[in-house]
């Protein structure tokens, strides 16, 4: 009984608050979730899965719309200019929010000023993988070999400025080694060359590498997560390998245009949190060894800001030209 009264009191307090009547009607129509990548990628399939649970928690349909282009930044530019009414949300990542400002000329958004963080999804670490017959099997052995043969070990890049490229720069910087970079158009052709032995080393997400590691066609040297991963129990972390500064993961979360009413952001964040804790989402993240981050509000804002500083330094020291 008291419980009910408490809820009633809380509810009336909310009703009294300015703009709250509006918030209660929210969401009155389907919410559009802009995924700034082509349909079919892991980000897209994952968003569609989460969108299902998100919609259930929100009591409204969540429609996933793809707006790909320019490494995802076209989608963010679009949402930066969308109505700040909470009906348009965007999938933001390390790539588009932390790295893009240092990678693109004339970017038409400011990661911190134009977007309001809603809720994090999580983070996916990188696996450091190598062709099965290479003479090294741990990060230390790779570093020792690369120091003896400077510029000889080839490392695949799944695209200039991608999360995995930046992780490999971070690793080479921390270890003080020089790798010969071989850029590819995406991860699939890169893995094809790695399996065939035309390429020595690559950084890629567990979701892409797991099948090949299991079949023995590539070996995993290490992981960039803070803890070892359940599916690669023998692969040491970067900290174990003596390179704590090479620890990284590609994080992602949802954002709304800056200026969205805070109570709507709260409603979205609550529903998203429920979705992230659902079994379907937990299962999906577990299968690809991604961590779920229950982060929101100021903490999330600070994280994005810190990451932007971190990656702008790495990109600058790697000498990647702006495009």
């Amino acid at each position: 009984m008291f419980n009910h009264l408490g809820k009633l009191a809380a509810a009336s307090a909310v009703v009294l608050a300015a703009g709250a009547a509006q918030a209660q009607d929210f969401p009155a129509k389907p919410v559009t979730w802009i995924v700034p990548y082509t349909p079919g990628g892991i980000t897209d399939t994952r968003s569609r899965l989460i969108a299902d649970e998100f919609g259930k928690a929100l009591g409204q349909t969540v429609v996933v719309e793809n707006k790909p282009g320019a490494g995802g930044t076209l989608g963010l530019e679009y949402v930066a200019r969308a109505d700040a009414d909470g009906y348009t949300i965007i999938y933001g990542t390390l790539g588009t929010l932390a790295a893009a400002p240092s990678l693109y000329e004339d970017l038409r958004y400011d990661s911190l000023a134009d977007f309001e963080p809603v809720h994090m999804m999580g983070s996916s670490p990188n696996t450091v993988i190598a062709y099965k017959d290479t003479p090294y099997s741990t990060p230390e052995e790779l570093i020792a070999y690369a120091k003896e043969h400077p510029g000889e070990v080839t490392v695949g890049l799944a695209g200039i400025g991608t999360g995995t490229h930046l992780a490999s720069e971070l690793f080479a910087n921390a270890a003080g080694i020089e790798l010969l970079q071989v850029p590819y158009k995406g991860s699939a052709p890169m893995l094809n060359d790695l399996i065939a032995g035309r390429l020595d080393v690559a950084f890629d997400y567990p979701v892409s590498t797991l099948g090949h590691v299991q079949s023995g066609s590539v070996k995993v040297l290490g992981v960039t997560s803070a803890e070892r991963l359940a599916l690669f129990p023998d692969a040491p972390t970067m900290t174990e390998a003596g390179l704590p500064e090479a620890e990284t993961g590609s994080w992602s979360g949802i954002f709304v245009p800056a200026g969205t009413p805070p109570e709507r952001v709260e409603i979205l964040a609550d529903a998203f949190a429920t979705a992230m804790e659902s079994d379907a989402v937990k299962d999906a993240f577990d299968k690809v060894q991604s961590e779920i981050w229950m982060m929101r509000g100021q903490e999330m804002k600070d994280h994005v800001s810190a990451e932007q500083d971190r990656w702008s330094q790495i990109i600058e020291s790697a000498g990647i030209e702006k495009r």
């Binding site: 399939t45 899965l49 282009g69 076209l74 094809n192 060359d193 797991l210 079949s215």
Partner: protein, 504 residues
């Protein structure tokens, strides 16, 4: 014997009611998605994928795969009737399919397409069942030097794609290469020829270019000619008029055999794809033909070769995707994503851990192809009736669908603008009698050639001999050299004979 066991297992899965139903839904939806200009397999599958979340993994894959090859099948319809490539793969179908339709043979062209697609698809399926492991080894042995040499051969073939002046053909290949440069450089990440437009960072889409060059320019040409006044001809769609005659079967059987083999081989390579398979099969056909001047004017062999090759390649593309876990195209990546959603880790182990899924899927291809045959032959009568719609109603509708298709590819308005620009360009090219086909192939192969050339040199530490020391690459380059030499030789002989004639 193993082949037989695998097939039995596959059919026992694929002939269940739920799989048959999934297959039927998939190929039917695929056919209609393919017919719509610009809405390709990728958009179709991604829209319909959520519907399959609730299905068992095998049924979901059977349905999604059905949408994929069904749309390649359906893509030919708009290409033949309206000169509108509904998907990238059917661009080559326009070359001879549309001229056939203009000659009043639309029904026959569509029937030929359906039969050729069925034959190409079936050939690739048998190949897949019998030789999947060795084919995977072939796919694996293709590195950057091999891909580069293959594109050299393809570009050479491209300049011979056109009738008339070879200079014009080569010039158009070069224009295609230049258009292919637009976008982000893979090696450095630098923007090239984007004129400050961030929308152009991903380059020019082939579908947009093809719809503009073929579809929009066709409308413009008809608009300016007197065709509006003329009444539309009636197309005979009786069984008798549509079914290929004995001579046509004879003329096309060789083309279909070559198309099937080429399509299957090229389809297995993860970096190539159905569009390149169709292009190469078409140019091979033109080379071996005794009457190459008929190509581009409604040669049924050209149509048959392109259609068998693109469908064979569409089926064969599943080999690297399923057995290596490496998708050759965005569509294949989407299918792997669907596997993941169903909790199956794509990769080399899929065939061992989920044999019922793998063989069931392959068996379903055959059933799906049969369904397409049964579904499409009666539909021809309905499709060609589209041609009876008066131009002043039909053309605005087509333009609407072209814009819709261009936009839906990446939800970006700049593609609508580009399709119109390419339409005007195509109109100008038609007036100047510049061929569009070599341009298209230049755009497809140019970026591939550059990417692999630079990567091959990077991996060989700058040694260009790598193209000759790798046996497959060397073989391809020698073939290219022989083609060049024989072309020069025959043109020299022709000139000598002409001189002799003049002297006489």
């Amino acid at each position: 014997m193993e082949l037989f066991d695998n097939m039995m297992m596959g059919f026992s899965v694929a002939i269940s009611w739920s799989s048959l139903w999934a297959c039927f839904i998939g190929v039917t939806l695929g056919t209609f998605i393919g017919v719509l200009p610009g809405v390709g397999a990728l958009a179709g599958i991604s829209l319909l994928m959520p519907l399959t979340f609730g299905l068992p993994a095998t049924d979901a894959m059977v349905m999604l795969a059905g949408i994929y090859y069904g749309s390649i099948y359906g893509g030919s319809t708009a290409a033949i009737l309206l000169n509108l490539p509904g998907s990238v793969t059917s661009a080559v179908t326009c070359f001879d399919g549309y001229p056939m339709a203009q000659k009043g043979e639309a029904g026959k062209a569509l029937a030929m397409t359906t039969l050729a697609s069925f034959i190409g698809g079936c050939f690739a399926i048998v190949l897949m069942m019998a030789f999947a492991p060795p084919l995977v080894a072939v796919a694996q042995s293709f590195g950057s030097p091999e891909y580069f040499s293959m594109t050299v051969l393809g570009l050479l073939a491209a300049s011979t794609l056109s009738q008339g002046s070879p200079i014009k053909g080569i010039a158009m290949v070069v224009v295609g290469l230049l258009l292919g440069l637009v976008g982000t450089d893979i090696q450095s990440g630098a923007a090239r020829f984007t004129f400050g437009s961030r929308e152009l960072l991903d380059g020019i889409s082939l579908v947009v270019l093809a719809m503009g060059l073929f579809g929009v320019s066709e409308i413009l040409i008809n608009f300016t000619s007197s065709v509006f006044a003329t009444s539309r001809q009636k197309v005979d769609t009786s069984w008798h008029a549509m079914w290929p005659t004995k001579t046509e079967w004879k003329d096309t059987s060789g083309s279909m055999a070559r198309g099937s083999v080429l399509g299957s081989i090229i389809g297995v390579l993860p970096g190539a794809g159905a569009a390149i398979a169709a292009f190469i099969a078409y140019s091979v056909e033109k080379r071996v033909s005794k009457t190459p001047e008929r190509f581009g004017k409604g040669a049924i062999e050209g149509l048959a070769a392109a259609e068998t090759a693109n469908n064979a390649a569409a089926q064969a593309a599943f080999i690297p995707t399923m057995s290596l876990g490496i998708p050759g195209s965005a569509t294949m990546a989407l299918l792997l994503g669907a596997l993941l959603i169903h909790g199956i880790q794509p990769g080399p182990l899929v065939i061992q851990t989920n044999p019922d899924l793998f063989w069931g899927l392959i068996a379903s291809f055959w059933i799906g192809n049969l369904m397409l045959l049964v579904l499409n032959l009666p539909l021809i009568g309905i499709w060609v009736r589209m041609l009876l719609i008066p131009y002043h109603i039909l053309y605005p509708c087509i333009l609407f669908f072209i814009c819709l298709g261009a936009y839906s590819a990446r939800n970006n308005p700049i593609d609508i603008f580009l399709v119109i620009v390419f339409g005007l360009m195509g109109y100008g090219m038609k007036l100047l009698q510049l061929p569009a086909a070599p341009l298209l192939l230049g755009l497809v192969l140019g970026p591939m050639a550059e990417e692999h050339f630079r990567r091959a040199l990077l991996l060989s530490r700058g040694d260009p001999m790598v193209f000759l020391t790798e046996p497959i690459s060397a073989g391809l380059l020698v073939t290219a050299a022989i083609i060049v030499a024989s072309t020069i030789w025959s043109s020299l002989r022709r000139r000598k004979r002409a001189l002799a004639d003049m002297a006489a």
